[in-house]
Symmetry: C2
Subunit: 277 residues, 2 copies
DNA sequence: AAAATAGTGTCTATGAGACACTATAGT
DNA sequence: ACTATAGTGTCTCATAGACACTATTTT
């Protein structure tokens, strides 16, 4: 949730006012230093800017049903949209980049570092936040389910099922589910943000090695297929999937085998960056 | 260029200050209205936000050489980066969406409306603008060369050759050329923005009907192939290209033929939205 | 007629999907 | 032995690339 209450005694830092008698417009022949000294960015109204992060995972811990895509959200405790759920987020600080802000939010709100994180889209409808003009630069991050095991111990964040009501890469808003058939209302335009994240991930899955980001370091081909099916929301052809993955040159057999199965154990593979290309 | 000097007598509009004696933090049981009235967004420092637009076209008016990708830029007349070239841009107003800001910039700075416009990426490195913290939400727009014919009469914008130093969808900064082998320095991080636009367009070309946006309403298959080759920076197979395009169901034969050729004239096609899917 | 490009028909290589079959674990 | 999944081999079909050939305009 990008929309925390402000810290109690913080007044906005003002930009230094423009020195009098030196209008920066016109055809002055000043040096760049003089120009910058006389320039007042605050002459233009500025929006507030937050970063919201869609933290996605594929929960394979329920062995009875097919793995599904899940996302992390918090229940808001304050107005506006109190009791609705929101994505982890926060205001951008003036001394950090947008990428750094996304990494900071993941660290502070979920205790996670070193994840795959990518900028998604910037949402800027004028009325998207009733408190005023707030842009949000949305990011999405991918994490294996094993790294979310103790998330509830570290924070008030929870992992919820993602319910995508459209096929392929059509796009549109996406809601979370609290339980079977029980939608979880999302705050602000976060359903749009979540929908954009799912659409982006589906588009990237086929031609970039992004599926590995949702698995532990060593995994079976079946687990990788589960991830692809969870993200795409449909089953994929087993034979073709295996061939494509093995032909891609991004998988390295470990020689180890999957432990503790009640059937033939599958070989474990590891992701390797492609040397060429 | 997103970085104009401020208008002479404009002071920043201040958010209404928070009413005293009603701190919004804590577990107050206020109504949402009361909460919002007491909320001061200015408690967090706010960056300036601009929108920059990469306006791309494929210039096929030079019949002797292969068509190439071109982009619109202005020479900056003020510090910083004076005399370098910049993309059309401007500050986001608080009462307009980001998409509206991009459309307004295209209208005001290039006199163009109704183009294909899509958000690209948001650039927010803390030091990308020496005047202070300025984020820019980059957009790209596509236009047929015939609509840029009188651009120079309407504005100081010029169309420059795009020089992509990488292949495929690798990505990286991209410069403009003033003439053959004569690079045109770009202001700020606009080479990164331009590079991102080329990368995005290349990626979209194969699976979305975006190529038509760079052509007039009626065009030959050869012209469409020229556009694809210009965007991709490499030749494509003629036979396969024709089959793919005709099989896609997005082209409609007009029955008309290309005028004034010194060889067999090709049939003119028109883009039609696919009914199904 | 010559030149130049538009457009068609056909062969081949590649990859996805389908399916049959074998292999190996637990029970 | 039975069951469930892993993994392999082979066939078919769809599509991209290559290439030969025909068609139609201006000069």
């Amino acid at each position: 949730m990008a929309h925390r209450p402000p810290p109690p005694p913080a007044r906005p830092r003002r930009r230094p006012p423009r020195p009098p008698g030196k209008p920066p417009s016109g055809r002055s022949r000043d040096t760049e230093e003089a120009f910058l000294a006389g320039y007042d960015l605050a002459a233009f109204p500025r929006p507030s800017v937050t970063v919201d992060v869609v933290l996605l995972t594929v929960d394979r811990t329920v062995p009875t049903s097919a793995p599904r895509l899940h996302a992390v959200a918090y229940e808001r405790t304050e107005h506006p949209d109190r009791h609705k759920h929101a994505l982890p987020g926060g205001f951008v600080r003036l001394d950090e980049s947008l990428d750094q802000a996304a990494a900071r939010i993941l660290r502070d709100k979920a205790g996670l570092e070193g994840l795959f994180v990518e900028q998604l889209y910037t949402f800027g409808a004028p009325q998207r936040d009733p408190r005023g003009r707030v842009l949000t630069v949305a990011y999405y991050a991918l994490v294996g389910p094993e790294r979310l095991a103790d998330l509830a111990l570290r924070s008030s964040a929870r992992v919820h099922l993602v319910d995508v009501p459209w096929a392929g890469e059509t796009g549109g808003p996406v809601d979370l589910l609290a339980g079977p058939g029980e939608p979880l209302p999302l705050a602000f335009d976060h359903a749009d943000i979540l929908g954009m994240a799912v659409k982006r991930l589906r588009g990237k899955l086929d031609y970039t090695p992004v599926g590995f980001q949702l698995l532990p370091a060593e995994f079976t081909l079946r687990a990788l297929q589960d991830v692809h099916e969870a993200v795409r929301g449909e089953t994929v052809n087993k034979d073709s999937f295996r061939r494509r993955m093995l032909a891609g040159g991004m998988l390295e057999a470990t020689g180890e085998r999957e432990p503790a199965t009640y059937h033939r154990p599958a070989e474990l593979y590891r992701f390797v960056k492609r040397s060429s290309v």
